[in-house]
């Protein structure tokens, strides 16, 4: 038996109809593409439709505005746009908040960049003492919700402009001007403190990767220190610095909680707080305009970042693996440098958390006498207050809110984690390429949209019934869906990276053995990806627990969660109780973050880089 096949006859290619039938047969036996299509529809509904809907609101007459604008509800109008951008009121309504937003974002971004870069260099490239623990300690603010610091600020620096208990400084007899207590100054300080860890993570990581042999090579060619810094180090660091700057900027534009807590007493408005106010006063048309602007800024900034990261990758190849880090001796600057780093740790971590913690065990602020200390706000009974007569840990409201938080955020995180893994599966395994690309992009899109804009979009779409979908406002379901959609960028990225690392052959070998698609999922993919799945669930959980933006707009008293509960306590001036709740949230977020780092063994920085 032997054949030689040099030029076997070539049959006519199969006709188009047969080819189509063949492909359909294959598709029927391979549900990945079908599952991908279902996911695409789901995310289209959860992510794309709400955003389209908000743009529609911007241009159509909203309920209640018909008489004022002159027309039927639903008619096309440019009223909202002209009111925001070009009316007599637009200065107050729009331009002032926009200027405030951009000022806060730009100033806090720049300050964080300068301070953070210096710290990164000290931590990575110098022999700063205590750099080991400082590297972790200085990251802590990143793990806490930003408004923890806002509350700490009010605890310390609140003045008599608004009622309730004074801050510690006032209580000790010093008069504070309004600009110290409220408004743009404290907002900038707090946002700066909150963003410094961001810079340390991103820039520090880039510095760590920068091969010091590259500097040596420059030195061998006779370059001085200044030339070296300007022509070698800075260009190499630029992508990381730019990326950190853009991420901070985008985040700052959408930041709601800090200006809300600190700006209200002095009518300091940003776009995010204006949006909140517009929603609170049923001006959905104006809310749409604010959302649109925030969204636009977010999209532009983060597209810039994506483009920067692509540029950065071009550099990364040169760096190589055999990088060598060498530490610069600080000499006489050792102590000042340490004082700087440690001072920042005190200002950013010890003082705010300490003040919050102390405030919850003191009856009157700022008075450090033994009789003033009490555990009543935690575990007391029958306090002399109108509402919340028991300590936090004994009050039903707290536990109801905590249970709601865990229930809603927990369910959402589990869904997000599973959907994330599923997204990863389809993105890496889909036989249809455009499906993979579309799914990857749509799940990443919420990352470009600040939470508050997203929540507004959700409200706009799901507040009224659409076709078979009933009105969801006031139900936990709307929170759940919004949370899932909002967390998909993290969950899907975790899923995609986990699936990319898992070869196809592991699943294929199960297929060969006769395992159906469902069996392969349950017996092979999910068990192997257990670790990634847990990460894809915990990460959304933490960010959901500490998040404010989504809840403040979508939650109602029946779906009160820890964050809205504490914001309400702030509004009612139950300072100690509010601080106690915030501390509990901070505790959950901190422990959760440490747990993830433990499980995955990866630093936070990896999660930030695209």
């Amino acid at each position: 038996m032997s054949t030689l096949a040099t030029n076997p006859t070539r049959p006519e290619p199969a006709p188009f109809g047969a080819r189509l039938r063949h492909r359909l047969t294959i598709a029927r036996k391979e549900p990945t593409a079908l599952a991908g299509l279902c996911m695409l529809v789901l995310f289209g509904w959860l992510i794309a439709v709400p955003l389209v809907s908000i743009f529609q609101d911007m241009f159509t007459i909203q309920t209640g505005d018909a008489a004022r604008i002159g027309g039927e509800v639903g008619d096309w109008t440019s009223y909202y746009l002209s009111r925001a951008f070009a009316s007599r009121m637009s200065g107050i309504i729009f331009w002032k908040p926009l200027v405030n937003t951009l000022t806060v974002a730009l100033v806090s971004m720049s300050l964080a960049l300068v301070i953070g870069s210096v710290l990164s260099w000290l931590l990575v490239r110098s022999d700063l003492m205590g750099r080991g623990w400082l590297a972790t300690a200085l990251i802590i603010p990143f793990m806490l919700p930003a408004w923890t610091f806002a509350l700490a600020w009010t605890t310390l620096f609140k003045n008599a402009t608004i009622g309730g208990q004074p801050g510690w400084v006032e209580a000790m007899g010093y008069q504070l001007p309004d600009w110290v207590s409220y408004g743009i100054f404290p907002t900038i300080v707090i946002m700066t403190l909150n963003y410094i860890p961001f810079v340390i993570l991103l820039v520090g990581n880039a510095l760590r990767r920068l091969d010091s042999q590259l500097e040596d090579a420059g030195r061998m060619l006779g370059a001085g220190k200044g030339t070296l810094a300007l022509q070698i180090v800075f260009p190499m660091m630029r992508p990381a610095v730019m990326s950190a700057a853009l991420l901070m900027f985008a985040d700052a534009v959408g930041e709601f909680s800090v200006p809300y807590v600190l700006g209200l007493p002095v009518q300091f408005e940003t776009l995010a707080t204006s949006l909140y106010r517009a929603i609170g006063t049923q001006q959905s048309g104006m809310a749409a305009v604010f959302t649109g602007v925030i969204l636009l800024i977010g999209v532009v900034t983060l597209s810039l970042d994506t483009w920067m990261m692509r540029e950065a990758r071009r550099f990364a190849i040169i760096g190589g693996k055999g990088s060598m880090g060498r530490r610069q001796s600080l000499g006489v600057l050792q102590w000042p440098a340490f004082a700087f780093a440690f001072g920042l740790f005190c200002v950013a971590v010890i003082v705010p958390l300490g003040a919050l913690a102390l405030s919850t065990v003191m009856q009157l602020p700022g008075r450090f006498t033994l009789s003033n200390f009490t555990l009543d706000y935690w575990i007391g009974r029958d306090l002399g207050t109108v509402a919340l007569r028991n300590g936090i840990l004994l009050s039903d409201e707290f536990w109801a809110a905590a249970w709601n938080s865990v229930r809603i955020v927990g369910t959402a995180s589990i869904c997000a984690g599973l959907l994330g893994l599923m997204t990863g599966y389809i993105v890496t395994r889909s036989p249809v390429r455009w499906l993979a690309v579309a799914l990857r992009q749509i799940t990443f899109f919420p990352y470009l949209v600040p939470g508050i804009a997203f929540a507004a979009a959700f409200l706009s779409l799901f507040a009224v019934p659409h076709g078979p979908i009933p009105a969801l406002y006031g139900t936990p379901l709307i929170l759940l869906l919004a949370l899932v959609a909002d967390q998909m960028p993290f969950a899907s990225r975790a899923g995609i990276s986990a699936m990319t690392q898992l070869g196809r052959d592991v699943e294929e070998s199960a297929r060969i053995m006769g395992a159906s698609w469902w069996k392969r999922m349950m017996a092979i993919i999910v068990p192997i990806q257990k670790g990634a799945l847990v990460t894809a669930m915990i990460m959304p959980f933490i960010s959901g627990i500490k998040g404010v933006s989504l809840f403040i707009i979508l939650a109602v008293p029946a779906t009160d969660v820890l964050t809205t509960f504490s914001i309400r306590l702030v509004d009612y001036n139950y300072t100690q109780a509010a601080n106690a709740v915030v501390l509990m949230i901070a505790l959950i977020a901190l422990v959760g973050t440490l747990v993830i780092n433990r499980i995955t063994g990866t630093g936070l920085a990896q999660g930030l880089e695209s």
Partner: protein, 373 residues
């Protein structure tokens, strides 16, 4: 027992690019041990995956004992999980979260075999593949050779009629390869399974396979028994790819080539003359068809020697390599007479097709063009 028929198998990933697998037609005989051999990227693994059902066809048809598994014209596609074919992956693809026993048991569970029977079967497979004592280990705790045995055990446990192996020995060290090679031969005899395996290693192919399909750039070059592939290569590619050291290729018009060919009685007009290194003999006395050459270098390769020679020719010097089992008694720089055995010679046309081969004059039986179309 299954016979696999591949007809006009084609796989193209994009209409612009050249087909990864181009119009392949051959039949794997029932109970044979067939090897698909070719350099990396020639499409051999794709064929294996198409038989398994992990790749779909762009054109053509696969059929096993008359059951069509995949056919574009008939619109039929049987998914891999329904084919009942065994495949051992190059990476072994053991499930990292299951123990050795669980890995082997998985397929049996899917076949809904009762627990007691399953246990017996696992024990039997463990014994057959000599992996006793490893049942409770996880794949990460096994050596490469052990992993491969587990992968084989897992696949053989469900007794597939067809067993596909993707580069079965490539991840093993030299000593282990010998053992596993013997093991595979033993398993083939014991189970009587039709085995198709893929490799880029001609030694692996020659020693294991009953039949070899040589591939290059997605096209089938030759499908024949191992000895025919060596003795009667269908074309220049096969002649060059099989054999170590590779065959010497001389321009047919050169004085050296014409002299060798005339002595062997090969007078067909040709483009190139292929001469196997082991078919070259060197001597100090002139004989018919011998040419003179200078010894350039002598390289011992452990038990055999490679002797490099150059012959002066009209169009410039011609380099030849001789492979010999007897210790060479030459010095570098020495002039010798080179002659060639007729059966080590093949003539190729300018398209690369083999035109004729030399016939051994010492033996009487002819095997010049056996089986060649």
């Amino acid at each position: 027992m299954p016979k696999i028929t591949l007809s006009h198998l084609t796989k193209s990933y994009s209409p612009k690019a050249a087909a990864a697998v181009d119009n392949i037609t051959f039949t794997v005989e029932d109970g044979s041990f067939t090897c698909i051999l070719g350099p990396s990227g020639c499409g051999k693994s794709t064929i294996l995956r198409m038989i398994a059902g992990l790749e779909t066809l762009s054109e053509g048809e696969i059929d096993v004992d008359g059951r069509v598994l995949d056919s574009v014209t008939k619109g039929i596609f049987v998914p891999p999980e329904k084919r009942g074919i065994g495949l051992v992956f190059q990476s072994y693809a053991l499930w990292p979260h299951m123990t050795v026993a669980q890995n082997i048991e998985f397929g049996l569970k899917i076949q809904k075999m009762p627990a007691a029977q399953r246990k017996a079967r696992v024990a039997q497979m463990v014994a057959t593949l000599r992996i006793e004592g490893l049942e409770d280990r996880y794949p990460a705790q096994l050596s490469g050779g052990q992993q491969q045995r587990v992968a084989l055990a897992r696949t053989l446990a469900v007794t597939p009629g067809i067993l596909l192996l993707d580069e079965p020995l490539s991840n093993l060290d030299a000593a282990l390869r010998l053992t596993m090679r013997a093991e595979l031969s033993r398993l083939h005899r014991e189970f009587g399974t039709t085995i198709v395996f893929v490799t880029h290693d001609q030694w692996e192919a020659m020693t294991l396979a009953t039949h070899i399909a040589v591939m290059s750039k997605g096209a089938l070059q030759q499908y024949a028994t191992a000895s025919q592939i060596y003795e009667a290569p269908a074309n220049r590619f096969v002649a060059d790819f099989i054999g170590n050291p590779p065959i010497n290729m001389l321009p047919a018009a050169s004085h050296v080539a014409r002299s060798f060919a005339r002595a062997a009685g090969l007078d067909a007009p040709a483009h190139e003359l292929g001469l196997r290194p082991e078919g070259i003999t060197l001597g100090l006395s002139e004989s018919a068809g011998a040419v003179t050459a200078i010894i350039e270098s002598i390289l011992p390769t452990g038990g055999s020697w490679l002797v490099e020679l150059t012959c002066a020719d009209d169009a410039g010097p011609i380099r030849l390599v001789q492979s010999t089992q007897t210790p060479p008694r030459w010095r570098v720089g020495q002039a010798v007479y080179v002659s060639a055995l007729a059966e080590a010679m093949h003539l190729f046309s300018d398209t690369g097709a083999r035109i004729a081969s030399g016939v051994s004059r010492s033996h009487d039986h002819s095997r010049s063009s056996a089986g060649v179309i």
